[in-house]
Symmetry: C2
Subunit: 374 residues, 2 copies
């Protein structure tokens, strides 16, 4: 194999730099300047060992403070661990506190990886259905009967879900969980780092957040907060290596992403304080979209930047457009806008999180123009 045959591998480039990006998966992961510096500083594999030569990273003062003090306060949790991603965190919780054959309850709006993690553990999954179109609402009261019926080992709530951006009543579900003594996990991939959220306030046992989705961090990384009563179960130690946590395959924290997560943390503290402004933008955007005949599904008035729209007028255009169902993607790109899944015209999701009010106005103008002229 020759170096020359793979020269193109050295020139992998992003395509959407400088565009207004509405992709929900990218909206909360843009690095801060401090995180960019940390990224460069700790880019080399295992360079983070420079700040911990020969010692467990957990013992390093700044990392210790971040994980043992700052993150627990931030999440409203007793104990926090760094994870490799939300799905890995969900798997760790399931693998620790349930056993194969157990039943768990999850919301019908859950991410597909929730189902796969459960399947990998060997669990039976019962879903609490949403209310269907147009709100796709999860009524947390619906968990109660299903808890009585199935005696689940775990209940999970996606807060918000990644399709409609709905925020169910997580606190009420906490009361139900306490009443029936069922462990309660919140998937906060789209909330932790975007908006104020507290595990304890919701009465949950576990909360999981995503570095790359919502904490202005390079990936893959996430955070797992827990109630201290789970310490002995979830953080159980190896019998052969009694210092090492079994579920985490040892205590080593690796690399670059952690440095960016730490460096962005002060910024994250600030940005969640401006969450009201984000909700205002989202609601304004939703209203403007509806004026164009594009229908917002899910909670209304909406309380999150992630939104789902039914967009029949674009579908109608696509039927006679030379670029067929990809026309919208091209028309938006021409106008400096990206992040809506190419090929979708009947419906799509987007996030207003990364855009300023001015940029959102541009997006509305673009949709308006495309509807008129295409």
């Amino acid at each position: 194999m020759n170096k020359e045959d793979f020269k193109k591998f050295e020139k992998l480039e992003r395509k959407n730099k400088g565009l207004i990006n509405l992709n929900p998966i990218q909206a909360g992961g843009k690095l801060t300047k401090a995180a960019e510096n940390a990224l460069i500083e700790f880019g080399d594999g295992y360079s983070i060992y420079d700040i911990s030569p020969g010692l467990e990273l957990m013992e390093m003062p700044i990392i210790k403070e971040f994980i043992q003090d700052a993150l627990p306060k931030f999440l409203g949790a007793d104990i926090v661990r760094i994870i490799l991603g939300v799905r890995e965190g969900i798997f760790i919780v399931m693998h620790s506190i349930t056993k194969p054959g157990d039943i768990i309850l999850v919301d019908g709006n859950r991410h597909y990886t929730t189902i796969i993690a459960a399947e990998r553990v060997g669990l039976k999954v019962v879903e609490v259905p949403n209310s269907g179109e147009p709100k796709y609402k999860i009524r947390v009261e619906d968990y109660e009967d299903l808890i009585k019926k199935h005696k689940p080992s775990l209940i999970l709530l996606t807060y918000p879900d990644g399709n409609y951006g709905n925020l169910p009543d997580a606190k009420k579900l906490g009361e139900i969980a306490k009443k029936y003594k069922v462990p309660y996990l919140i998937n906060g991939a789209y909330s932790v780092g975007r908006m104020p959220i507290s595990m304890k306030e919701f009465g949950a046992d576990f909360i999981i957040g995503s570095g790359q989705k919502s904490m202005a961090s390079a990936g893959p990384i996430g955070v797992l907060g827990m109630d201290k009563k789970w310490e002995k179960v979830l953080l159980r130690k190896s019998k052969i290596y009694p210092q090492q946590e079994l579920e985490f395959l040892g205590s080593e924290l690796r690399g670059t992403a952690l440095a960016t997560l730490i460096a962005s943390f002060p910024f994250i503290l600030e940005r969640i304080k401006n969450w009201n402004k984000q909700v205002e933008n989202a609601q304004w955007f939703s209203r403007e979209m509806e004026k164009l005949g594009l229908k917002q599904m899910g909670d209304k008035p909406h309380k999150h930047d992630l939104m789902f729209f039914k967009t029949e007028p674009f579908y109608k255009i696509s039927l006679k457009h030379p670029k067929t169902r990809f026309f919208l993607h091209y028309e938006l790109k021409k106008r400096g806008i990206t992040g809506i899944k190419p090929g979708l015209t009947k419906h799509f999701k987007l996030s207003t999180f990364a855009a300023s009010k001015e940029e959102l106005e541009k997006v509305i103008d673009a949709f308006k123009e495309i509807l008129k002229t295409a």
Copy 2:
């Protein structure tokens, strides 16, 4: 919580920049210029979706070529998957092809996470002991009787191990594995990306490599190569999401580390061709150390850059030195050298991989001087 209280989080800095670094864990993970560019380009969480808006990343031409064509050729494997790290890869293999209660055979020089991964799966581990001081050799012939006795579900070989840098006869173990039809996994964390290695040539079923340890990549990332006969087991699909691989919790590839792994690949192809030079350097270094009364343990003449030394003379100095057992760390640092675990004086491991011959001469001179003057 206030941003101002965490300002220091924004200024996490490396400590060992510009020093000669002998840390085995860091020696093979230094980014190439191309990887540094990829790091910056794809720093934002999920920015890699720019090159795959709305499509599975595996379908992107350059990523597809890397994973489906370049990496299999490089590893001598039929199929390759990207993993989050070596320990996660070992867990995936164990979790897929064994069941709780099974016995597996591993070399006595294995990494501690091999044991923890097995414990997490619920396996019984039998170790093939090394020969003890001074060579700590793994005789692969010793696997044979233990295979007959225990009927293991898997045998594992660490090639080389992370303490002595010993390279056991992996090919002969492949013949034994074939004879008894036992699945055979090679942990190549310190070989894949440093030296030429081929899974097929060794007759192994699985090979695992580390991006951050030996492939000039940011972490956490690794590669898992396998024989195609394991496809249906290891890459088994979700029943509910038939496109998704269960063990990988879905097929999404996340982030920054992957971009650096791809960008460094052409360089890696070149550097393994210079492996002989690395071995020469290591052997020269070992001889010079021995002239100073420092004894190299493990294979001799040594065939890998990772080496373990018994260093009694430094221990004697430490007994009366004001800086006690940390004196060596400080004395080396004064001379621009780092990467030996602070506090160790009786013995330590190091790697010659990242240093030039001139730098290695400096290291020898430093040891000489410290022995004379301390």
